[in-house]
């Protein structure tokens, strides 16, 4: 019975519905009497609202109109704190902030009505860059425009500068990035005073939406129900924002007494919803002539946008990952996330780490140049090993094989042979080739004591018919939750995946398993599912209804007999924090994550120096993620993440004008197409993690961390351009190559 389901590429559970078009996403649902909802947004980045006028030519009496005054509970989107309003009341703090909501049965008329709503403002000066925010020319949040700051200290950096052979400094920047799930945000709500509020929608975290609606409507928890519909991609973009659109749809539903559907079109989705935080990182590094790191001083700043939302947590992950998988004795990381008058930046796969890892891995290539050794040697001489300490003071107890991962990645990519060949060929060609890599780690699960606070639960039940149900708040959004949970439960129970059913996340049925984020679903919630499934098996064995070596038929038979004698067959398992993991929130020291994934990614590029066009020609991704539960799904996660990383590195350029994204269309915000991706070659080292389900660790965010710096290092190798910013658009690279402004 061992290992019958794990390590097998079981086809996606909901795959048949997806390939036939039968899967129902929120916009595919229609309710009787349903009307459409729409949002009227601020045209100013910052200002005082003087009045709202409803222009002529629209039959306003047919419309449901909602403003901040219609909110029954507190006007906020409850998340970490309650600073973000659901609807702007007296002030607007970013472009596209929601001010008025409209609903009507005719969506064509609704669009005309939107244009007839005129909001008058007294404009106030805005803050649009990290520097302007830090200079305190305008205070737009709290006392100092800083949402959160951290200080992480290991050893004493001050002691190292004088003994350094080289001190290497550098500043690095990353731009905003749009999640660009292909299914735009959407929600349907039904609400009335007796039943409360129910929403159906495209979302990652049903209990985040639940918490926000409870606060917004001032309702008891049991009067709010959140149901996840099939979700067409999230990548973090459907982590916090769905609470906003759910609130809007529900307010319209309550006032109109009818079900209300709100679906964003692409332009609205791109302009109004969250993006990856823009960042600026400064490095100062002391290193010996042998390439040994003596001290790393890192200053990391994120642009958080207008409200706090999840920024402190994004900053936390970015900060902890900023010093990478290296054993430097002296490290000082100081970080902060600041307010600007842009829509709040938010969760996006990687969650702060892609920003700080880009800076570090680009910087280490520059350290190698300064010392006069190869990029691989500078890393090899500093890689962290088992028993050594990360910047936050965490002693790494798992086996770490960064050397082996790097050797394997360099061999698979033909790195050394290509370096030699390109050195010979490049001088004779207008097309310069380069190869570069990045080495990195990614912590799985919530940071520090986060999992302890979440105290997630999962429930497994077996029906008298012998069907096993997994009930969890974890959502499927393409990454494979349904299939992975089925494999874990099936393995624990000695059954086939067909016998396992994953119930649709619905807060009236499933327990709170925490949000579907942070590479935590397989490792943390999967472990709860495994434990619960094993408890079901134990119940049947202990009851004498099953004997080890049972068949699927025996299992069904036992499930039929069990309830009559013992009651419902179910197991609810709650997360237990391992006693040997300690975290000190005040000092920001301790075991930041229960486990890390480790990786080395190699990118090969060609750069046409006449046009500054970059192509990624080959990509090798080698990682250690514990036991791989489903090879096709796991490889799919990496390949998709690498493609998003290629976009982050080269194409995806959010153009800002006074806090507003002005290229909010797929026509001019460019993501990789089928013509842009190289062969993405994915390899796993498998070191089973003792605490993961069947030995698995987290995987989802990992590929976003290392892809962009690998590409940037390859471009620098090809052209000698000292890349410091991403995206490296053609225009920017041409400026670097030609020394002219395009």
């Amino acid at each position: 019975m061992e290992n019958r389901q794990i390590g097998k590429s079981i086809p996606r559970k909901e795959g048949r519905e997806k390939v036939t078009g039968a899967a129902r996403y929120v916009d595919d649902l229609t309710f009787p009497d349903m009307i459409h909802g729409l949002t009227v947004r601020s045209s100013f980045a910052r200002g005082k609202i003087l009045g709202i006028r409803f222009g002529e030519g629209i039959p306003w009496n047919e419309f449901t109109i909602v403003t901040a005054k219609d909110i029954p509970g507190k006007n906020c989107i409850a998340l970490l704190i309650e600073d973000q309003p659901c609807l702007a009341d007296q002030f607007v703090n970013h472009p596209e902030e929601a001010v008025v909501l409209l609903a009507h049965p005719d969506k064509y008329l609704l669009e005309e009505a939107r244009r007839a709503v005129q909001i008058e403002y007294e404009p106030l000066p805005g803050v649009f860059t990290i520097d302007d925010s830090l200079s305190l020319k305008q205070i737009i949040w709290g006392d100092d425009n800083v949402f959160k700051s951290y200080r992480v200290e290991k050893g004493d950096v001050g002691s190292a500068w004088s003994s350094a052979d080289f001190i290497v400094e550098g500043e690095y920047e990353t731009g905003a990035q749009e999640q660009l799930y292909i299914e735009p945000q959407g929600m349907i709500a039904r609400a009335n005073s007796t039943e409360g509020v129910t929403v159906w929608g495209s979302l990652q975290c049903p209990y985040y939406v639940h918490k926000a609606l409870v606060r917004l409507f001032g309702l008891p928890k049991e009067k709010v129900r959140v149901v996840q519909t099939e979700t067409g991609g999230g990548f973090g973009g459907k982590e916090e924002y769905p609470s906003m659109i759910a609130g809007h749809a529900a307010l319209l539903a309550l006032k109109s007494g009818k079900p209300v559907k709100m679906i964003y079109d692409r332009a609205e989705d791109m302009a109004a919803t969250t993006k990856r935080h823009p960042s600026r990182t400064r490095h100062r590094t002391a290193v010996t002539r042998e390439g040994k790191l003596l001290a790393m001083e890192i200053d990391f700043t994120l642009d958080g946008g207008a409200y706090e939302t999840l920024s402190p947590v994004v900053l936390s992950r970015g900060t902890i990952h900023a010093a990478g998988p290296y054993a430097c004795p002296n490290v000082l990381i100081q970080s902060r996330v600041v307010a600007t008058n842009a829509p709040p930046h938010g969760a996006f796969r990687g969650f702060g780490a892609p920003q700080s890892v880009f800076a570090l891995e680009r910087h280490l290539d520059r350290v190698a140049v300064a010392v006069g050794i190869s990029p691989e040697e500078v890393r090899r001489r500093n890689f962290l090993h088992e028993g050594q300490t990360l910047a936050v003071g965490q002693v790494v107890r798992e086996k770490v094989q960064m050397d082996k991962l790097m050797d394997r990645a360099l061999a698979l990519s033909g790195y050394h042979e290509k370096r030699a060949r390109f050195a010979e060929e490049n001088p004779r060609s207008a097309i310069k080739r380069g190869i570069g890599f990045a080495a990195f780690l990614h912590g799985a699960g919530f940071t520090g004591s986060g999992e302890e606070y979440l105290a997630s639960e999962a429930l497994v039940t077996a029906t008298p018919e012998g069907k096993v149900h997994v009930l969890a708040g974890s959502t499927e959004m393409g990454q494979g939750t349904n299939t992975i949970f089925a494999q874990i439960a099936a393995e624990a129970l000695g059954l086939d995946c067909d016998q396992i059913e994953i119930l649709q996340p619905d807060t009236s049925l499933v327990p709170n398993s925490g949000p579907t984020v942070a590479s935590r679903t397989t490792m943390i919630v999967g472990k709860l599912v495994e434990t619960a499934a094993l408890a079901i098996k134990k119940s049947l064995l202990d009851a004498g209804l099953l004997k080890n070596g049972y068949s699927a038929h025996d299992f069904v038979d036992a499930c039929r007999k069990y309830p009559g004698k013992f009651g419902a067959l179910q197991s609810l398992v709650k997360y237990q924090h391992p006693g040997d993991l300690h975290w000190d929130d005040a000092k920001y020291q301790g075991d930041a994550y229960g486990a890390y994934a480790w990786a080395v990614y190699v990118a090969e590029v060609s750069v046409d120096t006449r046009t500054a066009e970059v192509r990624v020609e080959d990509f090798v991704a080698v990682q250690e993620v514990g036991k791989v539960i489903n090879p096709i799904l796991a490889a799919g996660q990496i390949e998709g993440g690498v493609a998003q990383g290629i976009g982050f590195a080269l194409y995806e350029n959010v153009v800002w004008q006074e806090g507003r994204m002005v290229n909010g269309q797929m026509t001019n915000y460019i993501m990789p197409t089928s013509m842009d991706v190289p062969p993405i070659r994915v390899f796993f080292e498998e070191l089973p993690y003792a605490r993961g389900p069947a030995g698995a660790k987290g995987i989802g965010e990992l590929p976003l961390d290392g892809t962009a710096p690998a590409i940037a290092n390859a471009i620098s190798h090809a052209t000698r351009a000292d890349v410091r910013q991403i995206p490296i658009t053609t225009e920017k690279l041409m400026e670097m190559l030609e020394g002219v402004h395009v």
Binding site: S9, P11, R12, E14, G15, R16, E17, K18, V19, T20, G21, A22, A23, R24, Y25, D27, D28, Y108, Q179, L180, Y181, I182, E183, P184, E230, T231, G232, G233, G234, F235, D265, R266, M477, G478, Q479, G480, I632, L633, A635, G636, E639, G640, G641, V642, A643, Q644, Q665, M666, T667, M671, P672, T673, S674, M675, V677, P679, I680
Partner: protein, 163 residues
């Protein structure tokens, strides 16, 4: 303008069935398929012809249904994702997308399968480069396309083996 004046009637053949549908004069073919014909397998990703989630076949050509005014579909033969499987039997492409990780979140999948199907109807043995070109109007944010290429090429292999 009165309600009645804003309505038009479109007669066409969808997935082999003749239909006559009333819709708004400003409606796009995508709206008619989803709202009047109830065929919600065709998705809207961008509404501007960039993402290909709304790809369908119209008179044998692959089109973005978000860019086609409903009126223009009058008299046309249309195939959507709902018309790809033979009753309950999946097509070779659908099977290979399912078996080779070609679908993740699934929102681009109907359009992607229609685009691949259109390619294979013209070229039964495409190279990977030809697959890349044929799918370049269909964006996928989940897969990095690798498993989609594998799915399409695998479907060609099985079709060759079991025509």
């Amino acid at each position: 303008m009165s309600e009645a004046a804003r309505k038009i009637r479109v007669q066409c053949e969808i997935n082999g069935k003749a239909v006559s549908l009333e819709t708004h004069s400003m409606a796009r073919l995508l709206d008619v398929l989803r709202e009047q014909a109830g065929l919600t397998g065709t998705k809207e990703g961008c509404g501007e012809g960039e993402c290909g989630a709304c790809s369908i076949e119209m008179d044998g050509a692959l089109v973005n249904s978000c860019l086609i005014p409903a009126l223009q579909a009058d008299g046309a033969k249309i195939r959507t994702i709902e018309g790809v499987a033979d009753a309950d039997v999946l097509s070779a492409l659908q099977k290979s997308f399912l078996g080779h990780g070609g679908a993740q979140c699934g929102i681009c999948t109907p359009g992607m399968i229609l685009a691949a199907r259109n390619l294979l109807s013209r070229n039964a043995q495409p190279t990977e480069n030809e697959v890349r070109e044929a799918l370049s109007g269909n964006l996928c944010r989940c897969t990095g396309y690798t498993k989609i290429f594998e799915s399409v090429l695998e479907a060609c292999r099985t079709q060759r083996a079991h025509p």
